[in-house]
């Protein structure tokens, strides 16, 4: 088993909480893990990426080789496209569709989404809207984890345990809300996969 995921977003969007949940699930499954993070200057509203590698064998490089990622999991649509050179031809692009506009020359959203749709294996999900529907306006990241869960060979239950682990301190209500958000993301992606393969 081997899973290479590029996590993408903008500084401050909290992609590391996604890495924490996936990482927790991997460790609980007895798997090896390497996760390269971005710290420092690029965090100030700049583009951020994290390379998450999970395997049942030794992992050498901390960085995912170009063309080898099984998935780009992005919390922002333009950022999902920035890392396409990493995506394997069979890999999945799973991205939030809500743009994060902190620059004047942000391209037209329609064009960005058109580019996303050109990728044969893609899921475009309005994670912000789904999170809001579940009264969890800050739960966009967990929608994305739920969407990703459809395409990766980590047990869903282990991801749920990851959520219990990171939100446990905040009480049962927060945990339940995030579990529901995770489930909603998963449901959306399951539907999208079926549609794509029809």
């Amino acid at each position: 088993m081997r899973l290479d995921i590029i996590l993408a977003g903008v500084g401050g969007q909290g992609i590391l909480s996604i890495a924490t949940v996936l990482g927790y699930a991997a460790v609980e499954s007895g798997l090896q893990l390497k996760q390269a993070e971005v710290h420092g200057m690029s965090q100030r509203g700049g583009e951020v990426q994290s390379h998450l590698r999970i395997s049942d064998k030794s992992i050498y490089s901390d960085l995912i080789p170009a063309g080898a990622a099984d998935m780009i999991l992005s919390v922002e649509p333009m950022e999902s496209l920035r890392y396409l050179p990493f995506l394997s031809p069979e890999g999945w692009l799973v991205t939030n569709t809500t743009p994060f506009r902190n620059i004047d020359n942000y391209p037209e959203l329609e064009r960005v989404l058109e580019e996303v749709k050109r990728i044969p294996n893609h899921v475009a999900i309005d994670a912000d809207a789904i999170a809001k529907e579940h009264s969890n306006s800050r739960g966009m990241n967990m929608v994305m984890v739920g969407a990703a869960s459809v395409f990766i060979s980590l047990e869903f239950e282990k991801l749920q345990n990851g959520i219990r682990y990171i939100f446990g301190r905040k009480g049962d209500e927060v945990v339940e809300r995030n579990l529901a958000t995770l489930q909603a993301g998963r449901a959306f992606a399951e539907h999208a996969r079926t549609a794509a393969h029809r």
Binding site: V10, Q32, M78, N105
Partner: protein, 537 residues
């Protein structure tokens, strides 16, 4: 993953390794990518229980000197810094090679190839060679952890400081680390020779001979080190030397099948010549893969490159600058690139920017209005911190960023040359790091210049660490001899813009050293404090 395994960043693995190896003091100034070593120590229960020193120092030089002092007293100590921090601490570092160590002394330096968050990409292994001390360069987080044990032992065995070299990718990458049984701290034991640390010429000459005399032993240690490994290979058209993290990029391309070429994994220096000789003897050519500068490759080639066929960054198989990655190394190994997509047109970069509401924005606007818009662009010397982003649009406010503290000294030099007005912009933490002596120079000469100390009450750029300037700036400036009438403090906001501009204009009229202190807390640390207060309530 085993049960005794913890998930740690490379930086955290160093901190945990040092703690488990019985360290008594961490000394550091924040700097990406080294900051998390100290931050981990500061939140560690184990460090608190052991009363391990773990507060920040004013700069890398004071940090390393304090670590040398702790080593003198017989306890294990570590100084941590980013690569350019070692320039600041270089005087202490090179001379520590001569004084030697008493308690184990490790200098951990995190290099930043590709300059993700730095002014240059210098390779600290050059410094290690310069100081003639052993260098450890982990290839993964587990080795980073274990090298703290080995490093302290090596340091004590040979009475020498040891350089532990990290790069960004290992410092900021998380992996499972299996811990060893923690060891207790040392008791105070003074050096047997009470003049060992006195580098008077007569003593320094002796100490230098001692250091020279140890070089063979250092090399022998490297030859026998378990971190250096010679892997046999049947395809001898090529031999590979893979340094530190670069070993992973080589192996990524072979995986479980193993590397078909003879391979020397190099993680401890000085370079063990016997192992290199063996590789050169049995292979037609040697590829040197190292992250950073071609330190090993250059030595192997020599000035005239008349020996073995050596490939690497200098011959063009690998790029001369920038960080390595699996794809770059893949090409150097002769494999075709893996197919991948390309970035579509119209995907624009998202450069880092000052946060909305940041006090530096108000400072940049006032300085532009009072200086650039009146006298033209080119008179504002700046420094290292978030405010360096003032060089970018929409501000285009600053004209220099060279090294910590250089804003004040460069403004002084330009003022000495006759440039008026000449202004310096420096952050509060950068000021106490290296700006105070610069300001003293200006005071002594009564230089006609303006120094703006942007006081956001933290070391913001690296994530909000304690600033030594906190609550002391006016006192420090007055103590250095700045006329208190020309130390002007205000709270920079949109509302106080006119007042700020007026103050700068008044101080431009004053012939002498003026210090203006716009004072408003970093919005990031403010938000964090508010959150903590809420949680505590």
């Amino acid at each position: 993953m085993k049960n005794d395994t913890v998930l740690l960043l490379g930086d955290e693995a160093v901190a945990q390794g040092a703690l488990d190896a019985g360290i008594s003091g961490f000394y550091a100034y924040p700097g990406t990518p080294s900051t998390e070593i100290m931050e981990y120590a500061q939140t560690s229960r184990q460090a608190a229980d052991g009363n391990v020193h773990r507060t920040w120092s004013a700069n890398e030089k004071t940090a390393l000197e304090a670590a040398i002092g702790m080593s003198y007293a017989g306890k294990r100590a570590m100084a941590m810094m980013k690569h350019v921090g070692l320039n600041v601490a270089a005087d202490a570092f090179i001379n520590a090679g001569l004084t030697g160590a008493n308690g184990g002394l490790i200098v951990t330096v995190a290099d930043d190839p590709s300059m993700h968050s730095s002014q240059n990409e210098q390779d600290s292994r050059f410094f290690g060679k310069f100081a003639m001390v052993p260098i450890l360069e982990p290839s993964n987080q587990q080795e980073a952890y274990e090298m703290c044990f080995e490093g302290f032992e090596l340091s004590e065995r040979y009475d020498t400081p040891v350089l532990l070299r990290l790069t960004t990718r290992i410092a900021h990458s998380r992996a499972g680390v299996a811990r060893s049984t923690p060891q207790g701290q040392h008791e105070i034991t003074l050096p047997e020779d009470k003049r060992q640390f006195v580098l008077l010429p007569a003593i320094a000459r002796k100490r230098y001979k001692t250091l020279l005399g140890r070089q063979d032993a250092f090399e022998q240690e490297a030859a026998e080190s378990r971190f250096n490994r010679y892997f046999e290979g049947s395809d001898k058209r090529l031999g590979i030397i893979a340094c530190g993290l670069a070993y992973n990029y080589v192996m990524e391309n072979y995986q479980d099948e193993g590397c078909p070429h003879p391979l020397l994994k190099l993680s401890q220096y000085p370079i063990p010549r016997a192992l290199v000789q063996r590789l050169v003897d049995e292979c037609d050519a040697v590829l040197v893969v190292e992250d950073g500068m071609p330190v090993v490759e250059e030595q192997l080639r020599g000035l005239l490159n008349r020996g073995a066929t050596v490939r690497g960054r200098m011959s063009g198989e690998l790029p001369r600058d920038g960080e390595l990655n699996p794809a770059i190394v893949r090409a150097a190994l002769g494999f075709e690139a893996q197919p991948g997509g390309s970035v579509p047109e119209g995907i624009v970069p998202r450069p880092p920017a000052l946060c909305a509401g940041c006090s530096h924005i108000d400072s940049m606007n006032a300085i532009n209005a009072a200086i650039r818009d009146v006298y033209g662009d080119g008179r504002v010397f700046s420094d290292i911190g978030c405010y360096t982003l003032g060089a970018l649009p929409p501000y285009n406010a600053i004209n220099s960023c060279v090294d910590m503290g250089a804003s004040i000294t460069m403004a002084k030099g330009a003022a000495d040359a006759g440039l008026t007005p000449a202004a310096a912009i420096i952050g509060d933490s950068t000021f106490t790091h290296s700006g105070m002596t610069a300001l003293l120079d200006a005071v002594i000469d009564n230089t006609n210049m303006i120094v703006c100390i942007l006081d956001n009450s933290t070391t913001a750029m690296t994530g909000g660490q304690y600033s030594h300037a906190y609550g002391r700036l006016e006192q420090i400036c007055a103590g250095l001899g700045v006329d208190p009438d020309h130390i002007r403090t205000l709270r920079p906001t949109r509302k106080t813009h006119d007042e700020f501009v007026q103050i700068i204009k008044e101080e431009i009229e004053y012939e002498g050293v003026s210090v203006i202190i716009p004072q408003r807390e970093c919005i990031q640390t403010q938000a964090r404090r508010a959150k903590l207060a809420k949680q505590g309530a």
